[in-house]
């Protein structure tokens, strides 16, 4: 069956360090992958999108990699800050249909001052 796994339910990291979150998938061939941030009691907010033919994408302190051989995406936050504390969701889009976006369960990141 198809599965999306995010490395851990929770990740604690010291302020200033680089946080690395993992999204692994099985039995999918995604056309692209997205990362969202979700704060408690709020809707997800889009961060980055990376396509199957791209290896890496950057936006300010954020970096996403996409390895279709390993079936894995890594999401990095450099120079992490307490304000980065949130749940981060990965989502895979499988193809052309609008219904083909599947979300992982998320990793709750806490940045400790």
């Amino acid at each position: 069956s198809q599965k999306i796994e995010q490395n851990s339910e929770a990740l604690n990291i010291q302020e200033g360090k680089t946080a690395t979150l993992t999204c692994n998938y099985t039995n999918y061939s995604p056309a692209y992958l997205q990362w969202y941030r979700q704060d408690p009691g709020r809707g997800p907010v889009f961060l980055l999108l990376i396509r199957e033919n791209e290896k890496e994408k950057r936006k300010e302190r954020l970096k996403v990699t996409f390895d279709t051989t390993l079936k894995q995406s890594l999401f990095h936050i450099t120079a992490s800050q307490p304000a980065d504390s949130a749940t981060y969701l990965c989502a895979l889009a499988l193809g052309a249909g609008a219904n083909n976006l599947f979300f992982g369960t998320g990793t709750r990141l806490t940045v400790i001052p």
Partner: protein, 111 residues
Amino acid sequence: NAGVTQTPKFRILKIGQSMTLQCTQDMNHNYMYWYRQDPGMGLKLIYYSVGAGITDKGEVPNGYNVSRSTTEDFPLRLELAAPSQTSVYFCASSYVRDEQYFGPGTRLTVT
């Protein structure tokens, strides 16, 4: 722009009651979606629409109905509410099939 707005924010329903969750977007997006999010689970797509007058089922459509009479509005109807429908419901929209903009969510409890 208000973005995507949802009403109500919270609601408690008794088993067997029905209700409509409202969703409106002011970004002129063609695509609109309804998701549910249960604790410890990922977002699951209930229904989606690619334009006014066009709707289709997502991964978990049973017990729900939708309509899309305008570009802006995409209400979600629950008929005969069941405890399994206790969840947080998110509406989202997108211009094309990529970056989605989410509303603040509706927390629904069915008892």
